[in-house]
């Protein structure tokens, strides 16, 4: 039974679906009345579209109420390991909305968008310089897409050597993010897992055993998904190259080393960069991302179209197969995520190379501060120092009847978004915490104090607090089993459902 008549609780306002509150003859857009002309569409007309509209005031209210149910980095720390939830500067948004950068069409004559091409070229310069790599593909639309780009370039290089038929294996650590083996499999490679050592790094002995002349590539993340720098990475790169393979690096954790270490100096052949992680473009509730991919000399010739080329005094766009015969192809219509390029460049210009180096330093400092402040009460999976994220497992909860999921839900009641849970898969009940450099010491101290208090509550046997959590969020725990067993993926009007019966 509800405590209030409206079902609302103070500022927590319930909100229905647009299909429940809108009407078919409502609209929030004033449009001219079309002239009554005979149609020249050549096909039958559309039946009336069964979608309601809302007036502007109703629409604003609807979406503002929805927004109030969301947590966001603007509201508080998001300790999500591997996601790099840093502050999204508002200057980026202002720059991305400059009409000269936003109100331009990708297929306008190139002579009318020289500033846009110059911007792409400048972004490319920053990214290739930060990574010490000679070439870059800007078009991939997200990190996973960038992985696909890097692996396709590798595949093209192998094909150019006439070795595609027998180089069919890709080596991936057991701790890798799921996109890595998914990408390899999509391209027809088989995936071999490499085990980890006791201290959380790639087992170089196991790796060398698994190398052979049928290996196309290794896909590594560095720092790895446990938040640790792969000390043997140069030795690994050399071994892979000696076996005729290539080194793909997942750049998700670049925030730990940007301005401090250049992947090109580690022997990397291809690395995608998540602009929405390291370079502050907003996560937007799930996208859009951007995954430009840097390439070594050996892979540069195969970079996909389109790309920007300096052309005497100006810039041109290389779009067609005849103009770039070695390119492995085209990954997207048009040129890539220009809106994210502007935001990322605005961020890079703001920080400068000195600021970016400080970003890595503070990111690593913050993660180690959390590790040092929690390791006496929680079970850190590996001895420090860590890089930009700290990994814990659930052994500190053993015997309490509380698991990682329960712990995370209790954190929600405390006003925090939970850390990354159950990833990487190599430790049990993983909790991966990445604060990023934009958290103040006060913010970290508040998080640490809360975590310590929750640990104490768990060990003191306050199981109900955890099992019932969250109690104070806009919704309690949701029945995900029901959602999967009986999928309801769109609204169905009750009258239609009744008629169907």
């Amino acid at each position: 039974m509800s405590e209030t008549f409206s079902g609302n609780r103070g500022l927590q306002l319930e909100e229905g679906l647009i299909f429940e509150i809108g009407a078919f003859d409502k609209s929030g857009v004033d449009l001219a009345v079309p002239a009554d002309m005979p149609l020249r569409i050549g096909v039958a007309s559309r039946e009336p579209i069964a979608l309601p509209g809302l007036s502007e005031p109703e629409a604003v209210r609807h979406y503002v109420r929805l927004s109030q149910k969301n947590h966001s980095i603007d509201a508080g720390l998001y300790p999500l390991g591997s996601c790099t939830m840093k502050h999204n500067p508002r200057l980026n948004e202002k720059m991305a909305r400059l009409p000269g950068l936003s109100d331009i069409h990708p297929l306008q004559p190139v002579s009318t968008v020289q500033g846009a091409l110059a911007l792409m070229d400048e972004l490319a310069h920053w990214l290739t310089t930060l990574t010490a790599m000679p070439a870059i593909a800007l078009s991939p639309k997200a990190g996973a897409h960038g992985e696909l780009c890097g692996m396709m370039a590798i595949q093209a290089a192998i094909a150019a050597r006439g070795e595609l038929a027998h180089r069919k294996r890709v080596l991936v650590p057991e701790s890798a993010h799921g996109t890595n083996p998914a990408t390899a499999a999509l391209l027809g490679f088989s995936v071999d897992e490499i085990s980890a050592t006791e201290d959380g790094r790639v087992d170089v002995v196991d790796l060398k055993k698994k190398l052979g002349d049928d290996v196309a590539a290794i896909m590594l993340t560095n720092p790895n998904t446990c938040g640790l720098f792969e000390r043997d990475i140069i030795e690994i790169a050399d071994a892979v190259h000696a076996a005729g393979g290539y080194f793909y690096c997942d750049g998700a954790n670049f925030n730990a080393i940007v301005g401090r270490v250049r992947p090109g100096d580690l022997g990397v052949d291809a690395m995608h960069i998540n602009l929405h992680k390291t370079f502050s473009t907003p996560h937007g509730g799930g996208g859009p991302g951007s995954g430009p991919t840097v390439l070594s000399d050996r892979l540069a010739p195969y970079a996909p179209r389109p790309f920007v080329r300096r052309d005497g005094q100006g810039f041109s766009l290389v779009e067609h197969a005849d103009d770039a015969p070695e390119a492995f192809g085209r990954m997207v219509a048009f040129h890539g995520q220009m809106g994210m390029f502007v935001r990322a460049l605005s961020y890079m210009l703001s920080h400068g190379s000195d600021g970016l180096r400080q970003v890595a330093d503070d990111a690593v400092l913050n993660a180690n501060y959390i590790l040092a402040s929690l390791q006496d009460v929680m079970s850190a999976s590996y001895a420090g120092p860590c890089m930009h994220e700290a990994l814990f497992d659930d052994s500190f909860l053993r015997g309490t009847g509380i698991d990682t999921l329960d712990f995370a839900k209790a954190l929600i009641d405390e006003g925090f978004h939970p850390m990354t849970m159950y990833f990487p898969l190599v430790v049990h009940g993983a909790m991966l915490i990445e604060p990023t450099e934009t958290e103040s010491k006060a913010s970290l101290d508040q998080f640490i104090a809360t975590m310590r208090a929750l640990v104490k509550a768990a060990l003191d046997g306050e199981t109900e607090r955890f099992h019932q959590a969250p109690r104070f969020a806009p919704r309690r725990r949701l029945d995900e089993t029901r959602a999967a067993r009986q999928p309801v993926l769109r609204y169905h009007a009750p009258s239609m459902a009744a008629a169907a019966e």
Partner: protein, 125 residues
């Protein structure tokens, strides 16, 4: 009483006349959590021991169910399409995955019996 054996991947195999019935154990379903979807093999599919035979999905994970023996599929359990919860409710009865014929009857006898499987589960838990 039917003849029943177990694999290290937590499948059970029960001889019923000419066919073998295959499913996952009580232990396995408890580990998986609520099953939301099952992909059973089509009739006639050729199986090799240890190879993938079916897929069982819970909300957060998908797991392979492996063929305990080599042979071919007689029938997949169609009831699981509408009611995957059967795997949780009756893992060793109504929640069976598929029936098969095996080309090597001797191989069946090499699998763990009930006692051996219970000991194995105790060991890994």
């Amino acid at each position: 009483m039917s003849d029943i054996r177990y694999t290290k991947d937590h499948e059970w195999v029960r001889r019923e006349g000419d066919v073998l019935v295959v499913g996952i154990t009580q232990y396995a379903q408890a580990q998986l959590g609520d099953v939301v979807y099952v992909e059973v093999p089509d009739a006639g599919r050729v199986l090799s021991a240890g190879g993938e035979a079916a897929v069982v999905e819970s909300v957060k994970a998908a797991s392979e169910v492996y063929a305990p023996l080599s042979g071919s599929v007689v029938e997949g359990n169609a009831a699981l399409a509408d009611n995957p919860a059967l795997v949780n409710e009756e893992p060793e009865a109504g929640g069976w995955f598929f029936t098969m014929v095996c080309d090597d009857q001797a191989a069946f006898d090499t699998l763990m019996d009930e006692a051996a499987y219970q000991a194995y589960v105790k060991e890994i838990d």
